[in-house]
C-alpha cells in the first residue's frame, strides 16, 4: 500500500480552511488511510490500493472537503466546450496505446509540483506495475505545439535533453547513460523501435516509459499542462489518466479541462473519461447487508459527504459516481461509503448467538486422541514446518527418486518443498537436542503432501502422526512397543508385515496394517541415516496415517 506525504499547509490551502489534528486523523480513518508519521509540516499516511485518487494532496483535499462539510456532493469539473487537442497514435506494437488530457489555468508552486510528481510515482509503482503496463507524463503545454504524435522511431533517430539533464542524447544514449534509463530501459531496449512522443514541430515531449524532456518540464511557472499515458492496457490507462487529470484540476484557478481527440487505427477516442456512472442503492438492500437502518435521506447525506451526487427516489438513492472513483465496481462499494461517512464507531455490534452446534474436523478429532496417548506414553510433542527440502526429506533418508511438491521461487535453501513424511523432521529434532542426553522420545502430528495426479491439486494432504525413540539401548522393539500401545489404546487390531526400506536396517522395518490396509510403518533407522543426522545412538521410528486410522475406526462403528 502506498505511503503518501503531504504538506499540512498545502492541504489546508486546498481544503480552504484550517484543519485540527483530530479532524485530520478522523477523516483519514474514514477514508481507510492510516497516519504513519507526522514531522513538522509533513504528514505521512498509508492509502489503500483501491483509492488512487487519494495518492496525493489534491484528491485527499477533495475528499476532506466532503467529510468536513466544506463542499459536498459531486465535484463538477469545468470542461472547455470549444477547444480539443489532437493526439495521433502510431506507437510500437509492444506498447501501442496512448491517451492524453489537457488542464488549463493552473496555479502551481513548489509543493504543488512535488505533489503531482509524487502522484505519478505512486501510480507508477502500483497501478502501472512499475511502468510496465502504463507510463504517465506531465508537460508544460506552452512549450508544445499540438497536435501531438505518439510514434515509433529507431533508437538513434532523434535527440533531446532528458529531464534534469544538460546535453541532448539519442534514446539509446538515454537508456545507457541516465538513471531513469538504467531503471526502466529494459521495458523497451529489447525492441528495434522505441516509442516517442513529439509535437507538430518535432519537439520531443518524452521517451515513454523512461523519461520526459527537459524542454517541456512542468515548473511552478507552468499554467497549462498536457498529460499523456502510454502503455499496453487501454482500460487501465484511461482510469489512470482520469485520476491524474482530475487531481491536476484541483490546482486550477479555476481549472479548465480540455478533452483530447485520440486518433488511432482510423478511429477517434476522447480522453480523459469524465463520464459519471449512475447507480441506484435501494435502502432495503443496504440495510440487509450492513444491518444499519438508515433513511434514504441519511444515506444520500453520507454519499454526498463522500463526494458522490445523490438524489433520493422513494425507497432508493440515485447516485452519480465520479470517474476518478475507480474503486466503485458495485453498489456494495457505495454501501461501504455510506457506512464510512456515517462512522464505523457509531455502528452498534450485534450479538451472534450460535444457531447450530459447532465441531472440529475429523482430522483434528483423531489428532487430539493420538496426541493424548502419545503424551501418556512419555513422548514430548514437537512441531516442524511443512516446508522442508529434498536434502532432508530424501537424500539424508537414503531415498531416491521421490516426487515432492516443490516451489519454483523458494526464498531459502532449507525450505523449497513440502514434506512427504514426518520422520526426517523428527530426526532433526533429536539431533538438535542430543546434548540433553538420551533416551529422547518425541512425536509430531501434522500434515504431509504427497504428489497424487488423481487429485485436483495434484497432491494429497495427509494428516500423520510420527514418533521416534532414540537412546543407547534402543532397537526396533521400542518402535513396536509404541505401535502396540497406541493401536491398542485406539481399540484397533493391527498386524505387521516385514518390508524393506532404505531408511531402515534390513530386516528391521515393517508395514503396519489394519485388516489389509497399510496405515503406516515402523522400523529401526539405518546407521547411515543416523550418521547423516549426526545422531550417535540407535533410534526407532513409527509413522501412521491418521486419515486411514480414522476411516478404519469409522467403518468399525
Amino acid at each position: 500500500m502506498p505511503v503518501v506525504d503531504v504538506s499540512w499547509r498545502d492541504l489546508e490551502r486546498l481544503v480552504g480552511r484550517r484543519l485540527s489534528w483530530e479532524e485530520l486523523e478522523e477523516c483519514l480513518a474514514k477514508l481507510k488511510c492510516e497516519v504513519e508519521e507526522v514531522e513538522g509540516d509533513i504528514v505521512w499516511y498509508e492509502a489503500t490500493h483501491d483509492r488512487p485518487d487519494l495518492f496525493s494532496a489534491e484528491g485527499l483535499a477533495r475528499a476532506l472537503k466532503g467529510l468536513l462539510g466544506v463542499e459536498v456532493g459531486l465535484r463538477e469539473f469545468r470542461v472547455s466546450r470549444e477547444e480539443r487537442v489532437d493526439l495521433y497514435v502510431e506507437g510500437p506494437s509492444y506498447r501501442p496505446y496512448a491517451l492524453g488530457a489537457v488542464v488549463r489555468n493552473l496555479r502551481l508552486d513548489d509543493e504543488a509540483v512535488r505533489q503531482l510528481m509524487n502522484l505519478q510515482e505512486k501510480l507508477h509503482v502500483t497501478y502501472c506495475r512499475d511502468r510496465r503496463k502504463v507510463s504517465i507524463g506531465l508537460y508544460d503545454l506552452d512549450a508544445i505545439r499540438p497536435p501531438i504524435f505518439y510514434r515509433s522511431i529507431k533508437p538513434g533517430d532523434v535527440k533531446f535533453v532528458p529531464l534534469d539533464g544538460e546535453e541532448a542524447m539519442t534514446p539509446a544514449e538515454v537508456i545507457r547513460r541516465t538513471e531513469k534509463g538504467r531503471a526502466y530501459g529494459h521495458l523497451i531496449s529489447g525492441y528495434p523501435e522505441y516509442p516517442i512522443l513529439v509535437d507538430s514541430e518535432g519537439t520531443v515531449l518524452s521517451l515513454p516509459p523512461i523519461v520526459n524532456s527537459e524542454e517541456t518540464r512542468v515548473t511552478e511557472e507552468t499554467k497549462n499542462v498536457f498529460i499523456d499515458v502510454t502503455g499496453t492496457d487501454p482500460a487501465l490507462m484511461m482510469k489512470v489518466l482520469t485520476v491524474v487529470a482530475t487531481s491536476v484540476a484541483e490546482r486550477g484557478a479555476p481549472e479548465e479541462l480540455v478533452l483530447v481527440n485520440v486518433h488511432a487505427g482510423g478511429k477517434v477516442v476522447v480522453s480523459p473519461d469524465l463520464r459519471l456512472e449512475v447507480r441506484e442503492v435501494a435502502r432495503e438492500d443496504a440495510a440487509r447487508l450492513s444491518g444499519v437502518e438508515l433513511s434514504c435521506e441519511e444515506m444520500a447525506h453520507c454519499l454526498r459527504m463522500m463526494r458522490h451526487g445523490a438524489q433520493v427516489l422513494d425507497d432508493r438513492v440515485r447516485v452519480e459516481v465520479a470517474a476518478y472513483r475507480v474503486d466503485i465496481l458495485h453498489t456494495v462499494d457505495l454501501v461501504e461509503d455510506v457506512l464510512m461517512a456515517y462512522g464505523y464507531d457509531r455502528i452498534t455490534p450485534e450479538p451472534l448467538p450460535p444457531t447450530h452446534a459447532g465441531r472440529i474436523s475429523p482430522e483434528e478429532y483423531i489428532s487430539r486422541k493420538v496426541r493424548d496417548i502419545m503424551v501418556g506414553l512419555g513422548f514430548q510433542e514437537v512441531a516442524n514446518y511443512m516446508m522442508s527440502c529434498p536434502d532432508l526429506l530424501v537424500r539424508r533418508m537414503r531415498l531416491k527418486g521421490v516426487e515432492l511438491v516443490e516451489v519454483e521461487n523458494p526464498k531459502m535453501e532449507r525450505y523449497t518443498a513440502l514434506r512427504q513424511w514426518l520422520l526426517p523432521g523428527l530426526l532433526s529434532v533429536v539431533s538438535f537436542n542430543k546434548h540433553l542426553g538420551f533416551p529422547l522420545k518425541v512425536f509430531e502430528i501434522g500434515d504431509v503432501a504427497i504428489v497424487d495426479p488423481s487429485s485436483d491439486v495434484r497432491a494429497r494432504i495427509e494428516r500423520r502422526a510420527a514418533c521416534i525413540v532414540a537412546g543407547p539401548e534402543v532397537t526396533m522393539t521400542d518402535g513396536l512397543v509404541t505401535c502396540k500401545a497406541l493401536m491398542r489404546s485406539l481399540g484397533l487390531t493391527y498386524s505387521l508385515r516385514e518390508r524393506s526400506h532404505p531408511s531402515f536396517i534390513e530386516g528391521r522395518c515393517a508395514d503396519v496394517l489394519v485388516g489389509s490396509r497399510v496405515v503406516g510403518l515402523v522400523g529401526e533407522f539405518h546407521p547411515e541415516v543416523l550418521s547423516n543426522f549426526d545422531i550417535p545412538v540407535p533410534a526407532a521410528g513409527l509413522e501412521l496415517c491418521l486419515r486411514a486410522l480414522l476411516s478404519e475406526l469409522a467403518s468399525r462403528s
Binding site: H49, S290, L339, M340, L404, V405, P410, K411, Y415, D456
Partner: protein, 490 residues
C-alpha cells in the same frame, strides 16, 4: 561428637542433622568450644625422641671432659662420634648453647662456662618436656615455651571446634520415666512396616523441604498446538464447524474465486509460492470457471463492472502453496452454497519470506465465514467483540479497511500493553462478485480472519516468531502451559 561418632561408627557429618533435631526437641544441649591443637613437625618429632641438638652436644662435651676446644675439632669429633647428625645440626646446637650462655666462641675456640651448665640443662629439659607433651595438651604449656617451639618450627598450631553434646535434664527425666526407647529410624516406608503394622516402632526420618530436589520434565503437548486446540474449542462453542482444504491450491481457489484480478500484486512471485512440480491442476466444473471468468471480465450478472481484462483459465489452473485460508472458505461456499452455517479454518499458509524473528514462510491463519440470509455487517462486528472477549483480548476498536474480496471491509484493533493498538481482526462481507459465481445467491456471508500467530506469541510470552516452531526441547519443557482466560473461567 568425635566420641559419639566413633561409638556409633558413623561419620560426624552424617549425624549433624540428628543432633540438630534432638537439640530442637530440647533433649540435648550442644556447646561448641574452640581449642588449640599442636602437631610436631618432622624436625620436632626427631628431637622428641633423640633430644635437642644442644643437649646432645653438651652431653658429648661433658663426657669428654672438654672445657674448651678448637671449634673445628669439636665439630669433627662430635660428628664422628655420631652425637650430631649433620653440620647444620651442629650449627644449631652451638647457636642455642651460646644464646643460653652455656658456651661462648672466642678466637675460633669454643669455651664452656662450667657454672652455667646446670641452668642450661634445666632449660633444655623444659623445652624437651614441652616437646613430648605438646601433642597431648597444647593448652597446658606456657606461652613462652609454645612460642619457642613454634619459632624453632618444631610444632604447628591449629584452632579446632569441639562440639560437646550433653543430655539435658529433660532428657534424663524422660529416660528415667522410660519415655525414650531405642527405635529404628527409616527413610523409606517398607512393605513390612505397612503389612506388619510396624509404623509405631519406627521413626520416619524428617525431610528438610528447603533442600532443592532434582528437576523432572513431564512429556507434554506442544504449547502452540495446545493453544490452537483451545482456540478451536472457543469457536466450536460459538457454533462454528471446522473446515479443511489443501495446502497445495489452484490459483483459482486462492485468488480468482476471491475476485482478485490476475494481475493483482499479491499474485506476483514476491507474495506467492508457485510450484515447480506439479505445475498445474484441474477444475472439473467448467461452468464455475465460466462464471468466474465473466465476473472478472465484465461483472457477469453480479451487478459489478468487473475488472475489465481478459481472464486466463491457464493462469487459474496454476498451482501455488495457498497464501490464505480464504481459499478454504470459498471451497466451502462452493460446496455448501446457500444456507445457515458458520465455518472456520485454522491451518497453515505460505508466503515467500525469509525466516527471521518477525517473518516466517509458513504460519497459521484463523479464518471463518458466517453464512445466512440475515447475516449483516453488524453481526460481524458482534462476532469480533465476542471472540475477543472469549480470548481475553479486551475491547475491539474498528476502522474501515480494504480487502479485494469484501465490502464493506473492516479492521479490528485490540489494545496491546506494549505495542498500543494492534490490528488483529481483518474482515468484511464477501462481495457479490465472490458469492454469485460460487452459487451463493440468497445469503450474506460475513468473513473474518485473525492474526493468530500474533495472539499466540502474546499468550505464550515469546517475541520471536520462530519459537512457535522451535526444535529446542529445553524451550518446550520450560514453557508453562498456555492459559486462555475464558476457558479457565476467569
Amino acid at each position: 561428637m568425635d566420641e559419639i561418632s566413633k561409638s556409633l561408627g558413623v561419620e560426624p557429618a552424617s549425624i549433624m542433622r540428628d543432633i540438630a533435631e534432638l537439640q530442637s526437641a530440647g533433649l540435648i544441649s550442644v556447646t561448641k568450644r574452640q581449642v588449640m591443637e599442636a602437631r610436631l613437625t618432622d624436625e620436632g618429632r626427631r628431637y622428641a625422641s633423640l633430644g635437642l641438638p644442644e643437649r646432645r652436644l653438651l652431653e658429648f662435651l661433658r663426657q669428654r671432659g672438654v672445657a674448651a676446644a678448637e671449634l673445628g675439632k669439636v665439630a669433627r669429633d662430635a660428628l664422628n662420634a655420631g652425637a650430631l647428625s649433620s653440620a647444620a645440626e651442629l650449627r644449631l646446637a652451638i647457636q642455642h648453647l651460646v644464646r643460653a650462655g652455656v658456651c661462648r666462641v672466642s678466637e675460633g675456640r669454643l669455651v664452656i662456662d662450667q657454672g652455667a651448665i646446670e641452668e642450661g640443662l634445666r632449660r633444655i629439659s623444659e623445652v624437651e618436656r614441652a616437646l613430648s607433651d605438646v601433642e597431648r595438651s597444647a593448652a597446658g604449656l606456657s606461652e613462652g615455651v609454645l612460642r619457642e617451639l613454634r619459632r624453632r618450627k618444631l610444632v604447628t598450631v591449629k584452632k579446632r571446634t569441639i562440639i560437646v553434646v550433653q543430655a539435658t535434664d529433660r532428657c534424663l527425666e524422660a529416660l528415667r520415666r522410660g519415655a525414650l526407647r531405642p527405635a529404628r529410624v527409616v527413610t523409606r516406608v517398607t512393605p513390612d512396616i505397612i503389612l506388619e503394622r510396624k509404623w509405631g516402632e519406627v521413626i520416619f526420618k524428617r525431610f528438610d523441604v528447603s533442600v532443592e530436589v532434582p528437576t523432572v520434565y513431564p512429556s507434554r503437548k506442544h504449547p502452540y498446538m495446545e493453544l490452537l486446540d483451545e482456540v478451536r474449542e472457543i469457536l466450536v462453542s460459538m457454533g462454528f464447524e471446522e473446515m479443511r482444504g489443501p495446502h497445495v491450491e489452484l490459483e483459482f481457489w486462492n485468488f480468482d474465486a476471491l475476485f482478485q484480478a490476475q494481475d493483482h500484486p499479491a499474485r506476483e512471485i514476491h507474495d506467492t509460492f508457485f510450484l515447480k512440480h506439479p505445475r498445474t491442476g484441474s477444475l472439473p466444473d467448467r461452468e464455475l470457471m465460466e462464471r468466474v471468468k465473466l465476473t472478472h471480465e465484465m461483472g457477469w450478472v453480479t451487478g459489478s463492472k468487473g475488472w475489465g481484462y481478459e481472464w486466463s483459465p491457464e493462469r487459474a489452473l496454476r498451482l501455488v502453496l495457498r497464501t490464505q485460508t480464504t481459499a478454504v472458505s470459498v471451497r466451502t461456499l462452493y460446496e455448501r452454497g446457500d444456507g445457515e452455517y458458520r465455518c472456520f479454518a485454522l491451518d497453515r499458509v505460505f508466503r515467500p519470506e525469509t525466516l527471521d524473528a518477525k517473518h516466517s514462510m509458513e504460519f497459521y491463519q484463523l479464518e471463518g465465514i458466517i453464512v445466512g440470509r440475515n447475516v449483516t455487517f453488524k453481526h460481524l462486528l458482534g462476532f469480533f467483540e465476542e471472540f475477543a472477549r472469549r480470548l481475553g483480548l479486551g475491547r475491539v476498536k474498528i476502522k474501515p479497511a480494504y480487502f479485494p474480496f469484501t465490502e464493506p471491509s473492516v479492521e479490528g484493533f485490540i489494545k496491546h500493553p506494549k505495542l498500543g493498538w494492534v490490528e488483529v481482526f481483518p474482515g468484511g462481507m464477501f462481495r457479490p462478485e465472490v458469492l454469485l459465481p460460487l452459487g451463493v445467491r440468497e445469503s450474506n456471508v460475513a468473513a473474518w480472519g485473525i492474526g493468530i500467530d500474533r495472539i499466540a506469541m502474546a499468550v505464550l510470552g515469546i517475541d520471536d516468531i520462530r519459537q512457535l516452531f522451535s526444535p529446542d526441547l529445553s524451550f518446550l519443557r520450560e514453557k508453562p502451559v498456555p492459559l486462555v482466560r475464558s476457558l479457565a473461567g476467569w
